[in-house]
Subunit: 269 residues, 2 copies
């Protein structure tokens, strides 16, 4: 099996995203090795040795996805037996030409506490946790978006992802039977109606998820799921709440769609 | 101000990471526009129009970071007035040559529910939430790692990030004064000692963070913070618990360091 190394003088998160996006295009298995915070000549030389050792033991040149900002460190890795793919270096020059300004290489420029919007994102995570599952309706005025839906339709992980990735303050509110019987919005939601975004899901999938939680319960029964989903979808339509079906979507996809549909602005570059 | 577009037939998350990593190297401000799920010829043509309109109104060619898998859609965007940077296309060919196998382009191959490890990540998020803040010590046997530290030292957001990004099941346990007076580990932690990872922080920063929560309290006082931090750092050393100081680190950096120090394997490619 071919080994893929993800190496950086920072978190190596960008190197991982970059390498994974490429490798998933190929129908092959890889062994993945991430080495973050390679910040000294010594460490870079040790990593070079690891790459060369891997080549020796496997007979296949490792693929190296690297995002070094420091030229000296980069050159050490480039001198290894691995095949190096360096997207920063490949694209900096054409962008520099287009912008007409020189780059100012700095380590830890991404994914660090120095990012302008870092505090926004942490505040948003704390907001999502404090406003999870209808726990706290009094802060809805401060929310950017309020996700609504029946229990287990994907609200909580989506709220957290919106916070971490985009710095969006997302509260979430689960519709319970009482709300649905009356087919009307609780007062706290009514007041912030323009912030509501609904999630729905197929009854079959919902029942499956709920079974894992409370096996053989009325809560998990297909019939109960169907009733609840009919009710909330009627409510969404009646109240003109934008909504989407999360059945076949990942939380990344749900979040990206919510951002696109609502037009919310990211608090993160 | 120059406009940067992030465009994809998927979530555009990869396009954003790719573009941001490059643009943060340049000392300039950009307007950022993300357009995910451009999945038809019609939509691609609308996006092309938006790019061209932007060029017309600003007089500066927009920078386009795109990660289309579909060639037809890519070509439409490439024919716009924007300057297109396409890292997938630039690197696929050299990787193909090295691997000796052809790529199999598929949309939604990353960040989708079809990723092999998607369920792991969602389970891990649910685990982190259920095991937050010492809420539930009985499931520590199932944890991959248990973050420990005083209140507000960064445990919760780090647990969530480890879950979302790496599919790692991270519980977290806050040391309270009772634990610290005795300088010993509670039984549930003792049993899983090999999974413990400690966080610490400077007393000044901790006091600042706690002030935001409970202003002018004993809890937030510099003196109280100092006492607690001294105690936990002694405990870490005495019990040989690996730990790091989170004061100047983002949750991405803390998480990447924890992964590197513990040698935990990612459950995500």
């Amino acid at each position: 099996m071919r080994t893929a190394f993800y190496i950086s003088d920072g978190t190596a998160i960008t190197a991982e995203v970059f390498g994974h996006a490429l490798l998933t295009l190929f129908p092959a298995e890889f062994e993945h090795v991430t080495i973050p915070f390679v910040e000294s000549i010594d460490m870079a030389q040790q990593v070079k040795q690891r790459i060369n050792d891997r080549y020796k033991t496997t007979g296949a040149k490792p693929l190296i996805f690297q995002t070094f900002v420091d030229d000296n460190l980069r050159h050490i890795i480039n001198s290894s037996e691995g095949i190096c793919y360096d997207f920063l270096n490949s694209f900096v020059e054409p962008i520099q030409r287009e912008l007409g300004i020189a780059p100012v290489p700095k380590t830890h420029r991404t994914h660090s506490i120095h990012e302008k919007t870092y505090d926004f994102r942490i505040d948003a995570v704390n907001f999502a946790l404090a406003n999870d599952d209808g726990a706290n309706v009094k802060d809805y005025d401060k929310a950017d978006v309020i996700l609504v839906g029946v229990s287990r339709s994907g609200k909580t992980p989506t709220s957290l992802y919106l916070a971490l990735q985009f710095g969006i303050k997302a509260a979430n509110y689960p519709f319970v039977e009482e709300d649905m019987d009356q087919l009307k919005l609780p007062a706290a939601l009514q007041r912030n109606k323009s912030k509501l975004f609904g999630l729905t899901i197929t009854a079959e999938r919902l029942s499956q998820i709920r079974e894992q939680r409370k096996s053989n319960s009325r809560y998990a029964s297909l019939r109960q799921c169907q009733i609840e989903l009919n009710e909330v979808e009627n409510l969404y339509r009646q109240q003109q709440i934008p909504f989407l079906n999360s059945t076949h979507l990942s939380i990344e996809e749900i979040s990206a769609k919510i951002m696109a549909i609502t037009g919310l602005k990211r608090r993160k570059i």
